[in-house]
């Protein structure tokens, strides 16, 4: 049954998923081209200086990319369920309702994780071509909270769609936007070094928000 649920989710996100993968690939190509360009034009030692000593972040395209991907996947996954109250069909399936919602969310989370991991691996390989491991590691740690933000945005999108009342949706979105903002600071490399664990714990709290919305859906809270 879980396999069938996953099948349904895949059918919904298929096109969006491949589009986002393509978008990521384009961003990676841009990164590679830019790196090779700057190293050629500025001379390697000066460009290294910009990056290593001045702390120039050449990968800021990835700041909002994971959040965008999370939003798009969440949208394509949950919009069809809310359209014409289709969620009633889904929740009527012979499984516990909370389990259904969590499996749906787990699937999206898994697919996002795969995409994010692939992105990180490819980006690392690209950067490792031009820079030593120290830079690759610094980039990884700097981007980690941005990818965490991607998961948060996805989980929140699910909760927002399942919630039927617009005012409540706005509340959730407001708190989520303010929260996500704290994950997207980018003043220097590795600035989340001492706090990433705490942010991770707080971020994970968003993952079951959809159950609150789902419960309200079941109660039939007024449109």
């Amino acid at each position: 049954m879980v396999k069938a649920l996953f099948f349904k989710e895949w059918l919904k996100i298929k096109w969006a998923y491949w589009s986002m993968a393509l978008l990521t690939l384009l961003v990676l190509v841009k990164l590679g081209l830019n790196l090779s360009y700057y190293i050629r034009i500025l001379e390697a030692r000066s460009y290294w200086y910009q990056v290593v000593v001045m702390g120039g972040m050449f990968f800021q395209d990835f700041l909002y990319l994971p959040a965008l991907i999370g939003l798009v996947i969440g949208f394509t996954q949950f919009m069809p369920e809310i359209n014409e109250d289709r969620l009633k069909l889904t929740l009527h399936l012979p499984m516990k309702e909370n389990a259904i919602l969590l499996y749906m969310l787990a699937y999206g989370t898994l697919m996002l994780a795969i995409l994010y991991l692939a992105t990180n691996l490819l980006a690392s390989a690209l950067i490792a071509f031009f820079f030593p491991f120290q830079v690759v590691k610094a980039v990884w740690l700097s981007m980690a909270p941005w990818f965490l933000a991607g998961f948060v945005v996805y989980w929140v999108t699910g909760a927002v769609f399942v919630e039927r009342i617009w005012l409540k949706r706005i509340f959730i979105i407001a708190v989520a936007v303010l929260f996500t903002d704290t994950l997207l600071y980018h003043t220097a490399y590795e600035i989340y070094r001492y706090s990433l664990v705490y942010f991770f714990v707080l971020s994970v709290l968003w993952s079951i928000g959809i159950l609150y919305s789902g419960y309200r859906f079941k109660k039939g809270v007024l449109k």
Partner: protein
Amino acid sequence: MENVVECVNLTHYYGKRLIYENLNFVIRKGSIFGLLGKNGTGKTTTINILNGYLKPTSGHCYIFGEDSQHLNPRTKERIGFLMEGHIQYNFMTISQIEKFYSAFYPRWKKDAYYDLMKKLEVDPGQKIGTMSCGQRSQVALGLILAQDPDLMVLDDYSMGLDAGYRRLFLDYLSAYAKGNNKTIFITSHIIQDLENLVEDIVILDYRSVLLSTTVQDFKTNFKQFVMKIPEKMDVLLSKDEVIANFEILKDKLTIYSFKSQQEVEAHLKSLKIPYSEIQQVPMSLEDAFIGLTGKY
């Protein structure tokens, strides 16, 4: 004979607006039950409560003995649900949706589904979202028949369907119900189709439950009397224990009542109504329904 569905003292308000109070009904196993009423009288509200998508202000609904708000997955397996408008997963094709649902229901009857699909003349790779209303209703019907549920809950199966598809639906439903001990719960506002299908009915009106009976009894006990009265006469008539409803058009007075003709005539005389040429006119279910609930 067990009761598949039991609703006890259902009362619901949307905010301050009352939908109905103290709705009580029972659906016996193997029967076909109709919830009738005009739009906005609480039919979908009741379906939502039954399916656990709405918590009633007070009262309970039990399906197979369980509270409808907390249905066990095992119990949900035995209930087939058709949503208003034949809503299904538009992004799936005919074959995908069958493959999907078959994983959830152990009694899945694949052939029941594909028999219907053959009649549709659509490409198995066609997305449901691109089909017409009628074709979609077929898909929904096929799915619910394949599930082979003990209880079918159909929220207005007729919406958006033209006569041909409506008849098809009814034929299949009848065939399904007969002799299989399957229970069916239908809501509808198109009465004429249901005449030969449903056995028990509940009729809802705005803010009240009008009637809870069988179709047989309803048609037998509820009568229509037509008579002449002087035109433009200020006739003082109102609904009371004898007159369930009435209509005046020019010189024609129509009275609907559960009482016998003698009782009606006695009542009219006591009210000093100058009537003439009274006769009882037989009614179809639809006529009776309109008679009871009114034309507007």
